[in-house]
Symmetry: C4
Subunit: 371 residues, 4 copies
């Protein structure tokens, strides 16, 4: 697939950055859907902080280095990656494009990009896997029924997915006021198709002293015990997504979890949490240099990726931009968006004088100590 | 009373947060009244700082905790509270709704919420008490005449109020320029009905060397001696509202005052005062772990309540939102507003991995030391 | 003069703060004149910083103090002041009102306010003195001719002025781009009438290697020697206005100058200078508790005055608001503006629990150490 | 040439600062060209930081100094400069004015200003040199062919240029999204005329595993070896432009490079780099007091120049304002712009009490330690 020629000829000339896709997407999807995608929790504090924290990080370049042998390739968790950009699990992609996750998988294949398929995908996980030539990972929410949870895992194993990413930071939906105010509801024809056979939830009646939150919703939420159970019941590497506390990160490593995603769910979970990027150095320090760490949250520029790696991440995940690019130009849009990101990363590496991923260390960060 | 069903069916779908009530209220009340309610002192510095200080506080969650036994209930000053949200004393509630404090009291009852009735209420304190099934506290301004002050206290005792909250930070009104510019005056039909029998103020003539402030208005202001006098003349627990200085907090405890409200009067008193939340840790430290501390000022989110408790408060008070909700939807609005706040608090507790009020400690605050 | 009654009945109800006068003044004077008055130097950095520095200072009040003996009066440099507010020297007051400095002097008298008459006044210094019952000080720019400079001083002495305030920070006008862009020129009928008899400047021809700045304009600028000469030639107390560097402050004291004004000329001199209020504590510390210090720059609120005194000033000067109030309502406007400021100061003192000027110490400043 | 009289009579009265030229220029050039000139890299972070960093620096003036012997002249790298303002290399000046670099050279001559002629000039370097009476320096990008690179150097030597400024921070163009979004392409009639005889680039075919960045564009980028080669092949002093890392600065000095420009290419190279002014003190400290350092980036005010010198620069370079002034008023505009800058610098020196360039030390910077 000669995507570069194609994308160059088909994408409007003023679509030159990931943020351009966000802006253009508004013309392709309804306001309610846009608000559902773009919105963070409650007052958008964490959403804004995610962006601000990245913008506040400064890079200090070295000049006149030979970069002609450079490459953004890396090995990560036993797999070879062409570049450190991974497609984060994003639910319900039919919301913005009829081909949904299938189109995204095709774009991922073309850019040799690992894709994490959401268990809330609007296409069957098996169909997505068939369209995905590059890295195939599966994201899982724990379900009320362990049996049904396990059935999802087994389907993922059978379809060729190589890792399980278990999201643990949104047992509750968070306070999604922007989506609520816009009146967002899942439109007809878009559903969590992989959960169709989920057994109905048992009817509970809460007493007056009980809480709809604690005795209601939280009864579905996983605990560390559930993680241990899953480790015993699947042969796949398990990655926990949604860790922010260094103590949780250490615990994950100690119980043999294969890797973590330091993440505040793109600012969509609890509003008031710091940016993942701020916690990253401390978490890297406590886990040691070799433990696999992914980070996400407002990754929109090659410099964002570079900063994340410099501060301790191995790879980054990109979420919302998938939907914006899909809305604007389908598979071609996602491919172009990924290409922009990868080229921006490589341009950053070249301009910093650090031609390989391994060269991107904390020393490249400017901390104001040079005054 | 099955308030949840009711509120869910009657409140517009885009009223999903306390700030939505503030916004919607503008359509239900006059500009002058809105400005009187929303305005802070002078240049709104303290008003903005109250919000900003809360927004700047970051929370660091722990994942995968079992929260199924969670609860937001607590014991406080000898009473059992369903949750740590208290309705602050708010004057003249007929300004925004004909049922005024009666409607608020009904909402408080339905949500098992303690209400502090203002001595400037626009309904008789006895009538309000009759509509209030949950915690009944009474707020007092010292009056020029000790005799009349005491008569108010005795009426409150007789009506079943269990605590006296004495406000000490607004002997002077402060510089309320927003209300002045909007031309606010108390409209006909709204009055401090409980002060009807107040004896007329003695006529004073100031000499040219005297100050309208010091020798005029401040002659009504209470001093520590007045607090001591009140302690001797009432059997009720006394809470002092409006303490900001740690030295004042310590003095209150030392003379046997039952509790304090750390408060800058919602930014309506002296403009340039810090946010109560900023002083809280130091005050808690100097008073010890058991002394009752309430905090108020810009509490509009479950996360705000959580932060206040984490930094040393036992409970919080909510002021202006009562009026906004009352203006928009009467008792139902106040009930819905309270439910939103309580659920947001419980969602925060669940997402933080701290299922009881006692679990909310200073350790949950992210201080940037994790870099 | 029963100014309180008068002002209350004649000033529109929405003119309730000094900043209201600034806003209203736009309707009474031309855009060019407004820009000349309101503008700071170059990019307005120092102008904005003056306001911001005051706004950033926080006050920590004590409650329940007896303030009935309070007063804002003080003794300063051998004179009794009713309050610590002084009218700064402001040139060309006819620009905004035909009565100009005469009206201002009447307002000053009515509020028992010391007025510093500018040597660039648009009325004769003798006429202004005749209308001024309260403190009379005279401001001086050094002129090219020492003889003419001395003639101004002698006229001031003869007219009853008791102090000489020598402005030293604007030998050059600074870069007044806002006034330039608005096309401001002194309109006909407004002139520096007290300088009418100034001898013509000697014609200079600069060589190509010479600078219009250094060898041109700066030849009129005074040096420390000129100050010493003035001390020998006038019996009046000399105050130097425009000191920012602690070393300059110390030098002024050491050579026997009677007092200083810590000032950046309202942000109109060199853009990029810090706010006077920021330098004040260090300057007070180096000069000791008794040396007379005045501060100016963005004093618009009672809290601003309070903060300046808490940080080391004895008194403050108010500049631009004179012109705004004069433009809006003549003498009555200036009197009302001064009354608002004084009452705001007294309200601040009362609410802080510090009933006399001597009670306003650095301890009243909140420095964030209470966390 | 009596430029002062001329400029005073021909420039509109509201063009009083460098930023005014930027604003007015929008009316003289197309939006795409304006965006190409004004735009920084990617999200404009570094562009904004350049301005902000300068604005945040505060100056602390001393009063009453004798400045009548003042001058802004200096000796620098063996040449006598009338003032420390140098015209930065700016490509393609015909974009904004038909006379392009010829007009700029005439203005430079009139203001005795050193001009660095870009190797991407739209006029022949020999023609520009003929119109330039003041300092003549030549800026060089390394070309794919060393032979062609050397031919440019030899032409510069022959034309009388005395220094070579080698730009090393833009082997890659950076991510110039603002120019891209505006659809900027070099219009017909504007070309890099001095590179006309450049041999065609060899056609490369990249394999699928190769990167268009590393194995494509970066093969033209110079390394330290190329600098050494140039030192051996030219008799001119070499200045490296685009150094930000103190380690690179030290290396340049150690290998005998004559001077450096601390620069982030006006925010046009890698977005996220700190401001040059922030690195300056550390670089000056590590290079010692005598090594020649130039700084650029957002120099728009006399105070900017002053701050740069105070923090360690010998001279500054001014880039974009050349184009804005050229667009608005041709040679006259550039001359006026330069005069404004020089006079603003001298006014700053006079108001700071530092009448010579040598007096401008780090002691003039206010660091907040005076509290």
């Amino acid at each position: 697939m000669h995507y570069i020629a194609e994308t160059r000829s088909n994408i409007p000339h003023d679509l030159v950055s990931v943020s351009d896709y966000a802006e253009h997407a508004k013309q392709h999807i309804g306001h309610d859907i846009y608000e559902y995608i773009a919105g963070g929790g409650a007052d958008q504090l964490t959403l804004r902080r995610n962006r601000q924290a990245l913008d506040n990080i400064q890079l200090l370049p070295k000049m006149l280095k030979d970069c002609t042998q450079g490459s953004s390739a890396l090995h990560f968790m036993g797999e070879s990656l062409r570049h450190p950009i991974i497609l984060a699990p994003v639910a319900f992609q039919k919301l913005v494009h009829p081909q949904g996750e299938i189109a995204t998988a095709q774009a991922a294949s073309s850019l040799e990009t690992t894709m994490v398929v959401s268990n809330l995908a609007s296409h069957k996980l098996e169909d997505i896997a068939q369209n995905l030539d590059s890295g195939k990972w599966f994201q899982l929410y724990f379900q009320e029924s362990r049996e049904f949870t396990l059935s999802l895992v087994k389907r993922a194993e059978a379809a060729g997915y190589t890792k399980l990413m278990v999201t643990v930071d949104t047992s509750l939906h968070g306070i999604r006021n922007r989506a609520q105010r816009a009146g967002f509801v899942l439109p007809e024809g878009v559903e969590a198709i992989n959960l169709r056979d989920r057994p109905p939830l048992p009817r509970k009646t809460l007493s007056k002293q009980q809480s709809i939150v604690f005795q209601g919703m939280m009864t579905e939420a996983p605990t560390w015990e559930d993680i241990a159970w899953l480790q015993q019941n699947s042969s796949l590497d398990i990655i926990i997504k949604g860790i922010m506390h260094p103590a949780d990160a250490l615990k994950a490593k100690q119980i043999g979890v294969a890797g973590i995603v330091v993440s505040n769910h793109g600012g969509r979970a609890l509003d008031s949490i710091p940016s993942a990027i701020e916690l990253l150095p401390k978490i890297r320090k406590s886990l040691g240099p070799d433990y696999p760490i992914i980070v996400d949250g407002a990754i929109e520029r090659g410099t964002d990726i570079y900063k994340a790696i410099a501060l301790g991440a191995n790879t980054v995940m990109v979420g919302r931009p998938q939907l914006y690019a899909l809305a604007v130009a389908g598979a071609l849009g996602v491919a172009h968006m990924l290409r922009v990101l990868r080229e921006e990363l490589e341009v950053t590496m070249a301009m910093m004088g650090t031609p390989t991923i391994g060269d991107i260390t904390q020393d490249t960060i400017y901390r104001g100590e040079h005054r």
